[in-house]
């Protein structure tokens, strides 16, 4: 009932998210989960979206893709890094998980 799978997490600026999702679909990802996050990284402090953020689109979103195909997961991470994150703030990491209903991922 439980199958090994990989979860790729990408944290990206809001205005990049559309391109992140497109890339996931281009790589064959079947779905993704979006979470609004804030945080701090190399660049500066990114507010969470609950207080007024004057400047639109600079809050971060976390995008998670689950796939049972490890190679696909790595491809998504690699392409995202190369095509989207060179000039943009963001973070990419992988986790090993176990999914139910393998056929969905």
């Amino acid at each position: 009932m439980l199958y090994p799978a990989t979860k790729v997490t990408l944290i990206a600026e809001h205005f990049l998210v559309e391109r992140v999702c497109a890339l996931i679909e281009a790589c064959g990802g079947h779905g993704y989960t979006l979470t609004p996050v804030g945080g701090k990284g190399l660049h500066h402090l990114h507010a969470t979206s609950d207080r007024a953020t004057l400047v639109e689109g600079f809050d971060h979103q976390q995008v998670e893709v689950i796939t049972t195909d490890r190679a696909k997961a790595e491809r998504i991470a690699e392409r995202a890094l190369k095509e989207l994150f060179t000039n943009h703030s963001g973070v990419v990491y992988l986790e090993s998980i176990e999914v139910c209903r393998r056929e969905r991922f």
Partner: protein
């Protein structure tokens, strides 16, 4: 001398106006570390209502307006937007330690237009009884879009040259050609311009007067005061970011608005004599030029010049540029208008 004293007095008294006192209050709250916040959804709605109202009001009055009278000011708006970016490029190129893209991104934002400064200017001119053509706010996109496009085009061209010299660098490949229409579209799709243009269209083509009078006009000043509070809080809390980058950006943000406003004031003065552009219109045009895009300009710049450091242009714009445009330039150009055109 009298005029100067008069100006100084008037300038200071402006700080008691709801508009400026809320701006100042917001900055003081942030400085004191207050946890008071205006929630983001409220802020977004406030901006929407303000811009929709400005647009609708403009649209309603454009119906009766002589559109030809708008032509020259519109051309001058485009010219101002482009001039500001070229001037910024020239200035930053002469300053030490400034990366070309950061300078261009900053100049692009300062060439573009701030919705909040526009709303503040409209209220402050109304309070002082300075009349202007209701279509003047419609000049916004004519200055905003060319400035953003030009900044992105110049930054991209510069990068291509640099890469040509350096051999193919690592990193994201620079696009060979800038897609101008994509930038224009992205600007128009931004929430600020969308709201303004929606308002204009509704004012021009529909009959929104009842809802304007029963809702959008009565809440306008109150919501503007809320927006000013937010601007003040943001200005203070972004100062730290600005401190981390070269101080030239702060200086540019301090002086730029006045210079940009003067350019537009001069062109407006020509339009006044050429086609009877109203003195209030000239003042408003100057404020539009003095302002810098704080809401939807940054993501356009971010997408178009991703290799520029956002701390430079956002810090300069939010922490210094906007307060200067609102607190200094609005009273300044209002006073200048009185001086030049009488009043």
């Amino acid at each position: 001398m009298d005029a100067l004293l008069d100006f100084a007095g008037q300038f200071l008294s402006q700080f008691q106006s709801p508009t400026l006192s809320f701006l100042l209050g917001g900055a003081l709250l942030a400085a004191f570390g207050s946890k008071l916040t205006i929630p983001n959804p409220v802020y977004q709605f406030v901006v929407f209502v303000l811009l929709l109202k400005i647009g609708m009001k403009g649209g309603v009055e454009i119906r009766e307006a002589n559109l030809l009278a708008m032509l020259l000011p519109a051309v001058f708006s485009v010219v101002t937007g482009l001039l500001i970016v070229l001037l910024g490029q020239a200035v930053f190129a002469r300053l030490p330690g400034i990366r070309r893209e950061d300078g261009l991104a900053t100049a692009g934002l300062f060439g573009a237009v701030s919705a909040s400064s526009l709303a503040a200017a409209i209220v402050m001119l109304e309070e002082q009884g300075i009349a202007f053509e209701a279509w003047v706010p419609a000049l916004y996109p004519f200055m905003d879009i060319p400035a953003l496009v030009l900044a992105i085009v110049l930054a991209t061209r510069h990068r291509q040259q640099a890469e040509g010299e350096a051999g193919d660098a690592n990193g994201e490949p620079t696009p060979r050609k800038v897609d101008t229409w994509a930038i224009v579209k992205e600007s128009l799709q931004g929430s600020a311009l969308s709201a303004l243009i929606l308002g204009l269209a509704l004012g021009l083509l529909a009959r929104p007067e009842s809802v304007l009078q029963s809702f959008y006009e009565p809440v306008f000043r109150g919501l503007l005061s809320v927006l000013m509070l937010v601007l003040g809080m943001e200005a203070w809390s972004r100062l730290r970011e600005l401190k981390a980058v070269a101080h030239w950006f702060a200086l540019y943000a301090l002086v730029g608005p006045v210079v940009h406003g003067l350019i537009a004031f001069g062109l407006g003065w020509i339009a006044h004599h050429a086609v009877g552009f109203s003195p209030g219109g000239v003042v408003l045009l100057a404020v539009i030029a003095a302002s810098n895009s704080d809401i939807s300009g940054p993501p356009t710049i971010r997408a178009g010049i991703p290799w520029a450091n956002p701390s430079t242009y956002i810090g300069a714009s939010t922490s210094v540029g906007t307060p200067v445009a609102i607190a200094l330039c609005i009273p300044l150009f209002a006073a200048l208008g009185k001086l030049v055109f009488g009043g």
